[in-house]
């Protein structure tokens, strides 16, 4: 038996590592590449109904704590996306998660219907992108009612495809958001999106370096925030959680699993570690289980909340 095998909303993954949305997943080839590198599932970059070029560069910048980005949801639109999904399906068996983004609950529903036709293994609903506020206003993930409406619309149109809601660490109560997601039919939650937005100023010119001025903060700096978020959600609901944020080692992934995550997103870690990071973390996880005498990741999940000594 594969000790790294996990299930998310009925989808069987051979590794708990999921390519997080927004990193590499632009085309069928880039998704396939990450799948071959050892991801248990791959998530596409968020797609919208119409094509988007995104914000001008600079839009992704490394800093000592990780990355800050305002890519601005560039994507070829749902038509182009469906071609990529079909091509991926023809050439790769690794489970495929499709991230969707829209400006209203109604549009989210239309998009879910279109995307569901491609039969992805899961639809991830991006209600928490922090770098398009000037265009779309406060993300849905900050408002339980608005978020609930989006979840209902997507579920009604998803044709039975499992739905995960990508939450932000920045809301009044993550526990309440998670409960709202479950009550409105969500099959899983992904936590967390990038944090912020933040800003990076070039001291030489005094100007914000991102063209969008502000952008989502990711990478090692946000791992503790993601761990806390997953821990809080796990205490509130029994939904599967894709714990995402700042993972760049097996220990980082274990922290999220011990906080209660069923699977672990890996995104910005690819900057320092390359796509090889997926294989490295898989090996690290397997070594940990063996060394500590665990048969599966399920025995590690949620350890942070369990009584007694492990």
């Amino acid at each position: 038996m594969n000790p790294l095998a996990v299930q998310i909303a009925g989808v069987a993954l051979e590794s708990p590592l999921v390519l997080a949305s927004g990193v590499l997943g632009t085309t069928s080839a880039s998704l396939r590449r990450v799948a071959q590198a050892g991801a248990g599932a791959v998530t596409t970059k968020s797609c919208s109904l119409a094509a988007r070029a995104g914000h001008p560069a600079p839009c992704v910048l490394p800093w000592p704590g990780g990355l800050i980005n305002a890519v601005g949801l560039s994507n070829p639109g749902v038509e182009g996306e469906l071609e990529e999904l079909a091509e991926y399906r023809r050439t790769c068996a690794t489970p495929l998660f499709v991230s969707i983004f829209a400006g209203s609950a109604d549009e989210f529903g239309q998009l879910a219907r279109r995307v569901a036709a491609a039969k992805p293994d899961l639809i991830e609903v991006n209600v928490s992108c922090p770098n398009v506020e000037s265009e779309f206003g406060t993300p849905f993930a900050a408002d339980p009612e608005a978020c609930g409406r989006v979840v209902r619309e997507v579920k009604e149109n998803a044709g039975g495809v499992p739905v995960s809601i990508k939450l932000s660490a920045q809301c009044a109560s993550l526990a309440r958001m998670a409960v709202v997601c479950r009550q409105n039919g969500a099959d899983a939650v992904t936590a967390i999106n990038t944090v912020g937005p933040g800003m990076w100023i070039d001291v030489g010119t005094g100007r914000p370096a991102l063209s969008n001025k502000v952008g989502g903060v990711s990478g090692p700096a946000i791992l503790p925030i993601a761990v806390r978020a997953v821990y809080e959600i796990r205490k509130a609901v029994d939904l599967p959680i894709i714990g995402t944020g700042g993972v760049s080692s097996a220990d980082d992934a274990l922290q999220l699993i011990m906080a209660g995550a069923d699977a672990v997103g890996v995104g910005s870690g690819v900057y320092a570690g390359g796509v090889e990071l997926f294989g490295e973390i898989n090996r690290g996880l397997a070594a940990f289980l063996k060394e500590r005498g665990f048969d599966s990741l399920a025995q590690v999940k949620g350890l942070a909340e369990r009584e007694g000594r492990p």
Partner: protein, 273 residues
């Protein structure tokens, strides 16, 4: 391999020197704050406008140099820059040329820029090489003086400099006359496709610098991933060898724009490698 370098963080630097080759062709020099190999590139930021990748055209006397031609809003703004103006510079990015053995250096148009740095490196290493360069017309040929010194052959579309033919014609003839271990190339993709074919026919290696739409420069955003293998040009390229080029399904075919959509014609179905 840990690829996080402090110099990857964005930082503006004052321009030290501007070398004017013509009104539409200039080299911008900065104090060298990081090492860069021939074929590697930097991201150059004009505050308030945009950020674009530029290959390094030379590293010499403590200065790092990029060379640009006025083709769009960004490069036209670059032509207006003066010493002392601050531009953002981060790098080095990607994998450059890996000089080995006897080389044939082939460049076309703006693709000639990084080849000057490559040739300086090969000369430093005292390896033997030949150079063939092409442009539409003599006025657009870069670094004629530098390259003439090392016996470069020139080709122009209008015959105003060297032979009136394609540079790939010169390269093919040189390959018949002399034995090479590797062909280095940078220029328009149809030229690169012809060089790859030449390398295949001669059974020698090639190292060709590819261009794709780039945003992040650090292998994260996915904009520059090629079809087929998904090789990330900003990180694993831009210089690919013969075996790697065989895994680029969109080599010589339409590739992607800022949205990620394929431009122009519908390409053939991708391979699964």
């Amino acid at each position: 391999m840990n690829l996080v370098l402090p110099s990857h963080a964005i930082r503006s630097l004052p321009i030290q020197q501007v070398a004017t080759h013509s009104a539409e062709l200039k080299s911008i020099l900065f104090e060298q704050t990081f090492a860069a190999e021939p074929g590697q590139f930097v991201m150059l930021w004009i505050p308030g406008l945009d950020e674009k990748p530029f290959s390094v055209s030379d590293v010499r006397d403590g200065k790092i140099e990029i060379t640009a031609k006025a083709v769009g809003p960004f490069s036209r703004a670059l032509m207006e820059c003066r010493p002392g103006d601050r531009l953002g510079l981060r790098g080095p990015f990607g994998r450059g040329f890996r000089p080995r053995g006897r080389g044939l250096v082939v460049g076309g148009g703006m693709g000639i820029a990084p080849l000057r740095y490559l040739v300086h490196r090969i000369e430093r290493d005292r390896a033997s090489f030949r150079v063939a360069l092409g442009a539409r017309t003599a006025a657009e040929m870069m670094f004629i003086g530098d390259f003439s010194k090392c016996g470069a052959e020139f080709a122009t579309d209008d015959g105003t400099l060297g032979k009136q033919c394609l540079v790939t014609g010169l390269a093919a003839r040189l390959c018949v006359e002399e034995a090479f271990d590797v062909i280095y190339g940078c220029g328009p993709e149809p030229m690169l496709v012809a060089l790859k074919k030449l390398a295949d026919e001669r059974g020698i290696d090639c190292q060709l610098s590819l261009e794709r739409h780039m945003k992040c420069g650090i292998g994260v955003c996915g904009s520059c991933c090629v079809d087929g293998s998904g090789i990330c040009i900003c990180r694993e390229g831009p210089v690919l060898d013969r075996a790697e080029l065989d895994r680029v399904a969109d080599f010589g075919r339409p590739h992607r724009d800022a949205t990620g959509a394929r431009k122009g014609l519908v390409p053939e179905p991708p391979t699964t490698n």
